[in-house]
Point group: C2
Chain length 402, copies 2
């Protein structure tokens, strides 16, 4: 199937018409941009997906509540401090942050969301944040800087955008993400913001972003931890002047495919840039009894510390792959399983294949590693993405707050 | 509550009367003992718990089948090769191994179990194993050697035994374990064999060992991987000449407490000796709504890569503790949670406490680290055990087969 959309080189959240962003360094981090505002010229249809962790950060609770209330025009984000487990003062600080943004840019405070990422359990340095917010100016090409401003231990900013024509209208979808540690299925310390100039019928933004998350961010794993702050938000401002897109139509289908492509690109960028990671691992599980089985099996493989460490050592220890499939919960008949690494078949019908260890090892040595598992039980398939586990991951996480 | 039993210094699986063991080096590993036979003078009441992984090794399937069939008199174990994912030949090799043992020691082959641990997906070197088996002699004090013979990347042999008096009879319970990598709740590459000279009523061995596993081996985590070979077996030969112990009686209760103590000791030894581990982490969750909630919350904390890495760095990053509790699935009200590390309170009623970072860090720096989480929602509590995550874990696992 040929894609109906094209990626926009260098595109980001300000690629769609009518979106601007501004960033600042206010000193929450020791260096680098650590604060940004993303805003639309007009209020947007919005949808969002938030952490499933029962411990939720103050900004997340506030944003979740406002998103449920209706339209959204801006999002303010700080990195370096998660404002999580910060008690009553944390809620007050999240509220004040949105009030400052509403006041400065002349917005309705109920249409301003807030997100934070960084260390848990330390109060936000509000004086620095207030000063920083005063210095922020919005720019039509501010998206790349905003991708930097939301980074914590990320090494690379993450952004992507696509564009396609729909009945004489050009529709853009662009987004930014941050990830790195604590990335796991069902969202982990991941912030991701996606904007589109498409007009969406009421309610469709929520449906579309939830499904796109299931097929992108919920299929990646870095280290199995779900955070208190995970937030994914879609804003649609209608500047493309298309007739509002309705769920279930051809236009709705096209929009979701393009949106999912942006989300997959951002999700893969998160997995590739996992803390200490040197390789992106893509696992395709096919022949599963159901789509859910395919997803849990693929996620189980990319989540296994032993698989991840084996990839780091370019060690074709495929037994760890079938082991992770076996405990995933998916239906498995071990006498029917095929396993391959890159283009090297390691197991067919549950029987070990003679293989060239050097050739198999070479398949694990590049920046992009692919593994295939065919369960031969049905016709469902799924992809999942993860990264290798390196000594550097331990270095980073043994010494994060001190 | 004072314990009614005492630990036997240096005790192992041959501490109970009528059990003997013999070990050999046959070359499956490059060095060290790699083969052992554990046998009772007479057939035993037996119970067992096996991996929940849907991919099961050939020896495990054979042992599971024989255990269901009735009594057991001996177990043969090799380390260095898991005989997992080895297809039809793997089954034939497991069968032959038990036949050789039955023949050599004059046993009924249906009463011989077999277990293997080590690399997955490589056929057993049967010629070496046959030669090794010929050299094995059983000794009443062979337990300590058998604890060494089942080791893979374990650094320390693991054994424990307790003894208590019951109505004029002395009852001994002793066991050996191996663990190291792939250790996780619901058993991971863990082999554990426990023997007792108590007489048990029919069916009680299975009940008792399943409950003891729930309160010991199922509460430890090294790296979240469940293996294809996990096996825990209890053999009871009745040599203590006590009236057979019946479930639900005071004698049954006493036996289970003593059995659980042996299993906890072995489980903690596995966690402490996790691959690359330098510290044992004990997490106590109290105030949970239910016993299940307490267990899942405690296991979630000891399973978190971020908590484990923070302990390795003596970093009192307690936000990761509450985060892991939050995504565990247990009921949590974040405004009521207390968290402590050692004797240092870090959070009370969901509010951050001022604490001395040096003092908190010191609580994480010793070989035994304890963490407390009080959910203040009910009165259930549970302990779980794990280990820190070190660079060494990655070294070991990046290069296991090659």
């Amino acid at each position: 199937m040929t894609d109906h959309f094209e990626f926009v080189p260098g595109g980001s959240i300000t690629t769609p018409a009518g979106f601007a962003a501004g960033s600042a360094f206010c000193g929450i981090k020791t260096s680098g941009l650590d604060l940004c505002v993303i805003a639309s010229e007009n209020p947007c249809e919005a949808g969002g997906v938030f952490t499933t962790n029962k411990v939720k950060a103050a900004p997340l609770l506030l944003s979740q509540q406002r998103l449920a209330g209706g339209s959204v025009q801006a999002i303010v984000v700080n990195s370096g401090n998660a404002n999580a487990c910060t008690g009553k003062r944390g809620h007050q600080d999240a509220l004040e942050t949105t009030e400052l943004v509403a006041e400065k840019f002349g917005l309705d405070v109920d249409e301003v969301l807030v997100a934070s990422t960084g260390v848990i359990g330390v109060q936000l340095p509000m004086e620095k944040l207030r000063t920083g917010l005063r210095s922020i100016e919005l720019n039509d090409d501010g998206g790349a800087d905003s991708a930097r401003a939301i980074m914590t231990t990320d090494l690379q900013p993450k952004m992507a955008a696509v564009r396609y024509g729909s009945a004489g209208h050009t529709i853009n979808i662009g987004g930014i993400s941050k990830g790195s540690g604590m990335i796991h299925p069902n969202l982990a310390t991941m912030l991701s913001f996606v904007a589109t100039d498409a007009a969406l019928a009421p309610g469709f933004a929520q449906q579309a972003i939830a499904r796109a998350a299931d097929n992108s961010f919920n299929l990646i794993s870095v280290d199995g931890d779900n955070s208190t702050n995970d937030t994914l938000v879609l804003l649609a401002n209608g500047k493309a002047n298309n007739p509002p897109i309705v769920e279930g139509t051809q236009e709705g289908h096209d929009f979701e495919r393009a949106l999912t492509a942006v989300c997959v690109e951002l999700a893969k960028a998160i997995a590739r840039d996992g803390e200490g990671a040197t390789r992106l691992i893509e696992v395709r599980v096919s022949g599963a009894l159901s789509a859910d089985d395919a997803k849990v099996a693929a996620r189980s493989v990319v989540s296994s510390s032993l698989v991840k460490a084996a990839v780091h050592g370019s060690d074709p220890n495929w037994g760890r792959i079938i082991c992770a499939v076996g405990y995933s919960g998916a239906e498995v008949d071990q006498s029917r399983v095929d396993i391959s690494v890159g283009n090297v078949a390691l197991m067919i019908d549950g029987e070990i294949q003679p293989f060239d260890a050097g050739a198999a090892s070479a398949q694990l040595a590049g920046p992009d590693v692919s593994m295939g598992v065919n369960l031969h039980l049905g016709d469902a398939e799924a992809l999942a993405w993860g990264c290798d586990l390196s000594e550097e991951y331990v270095h980073i996480n043994a010494d994060y707050t001190t």
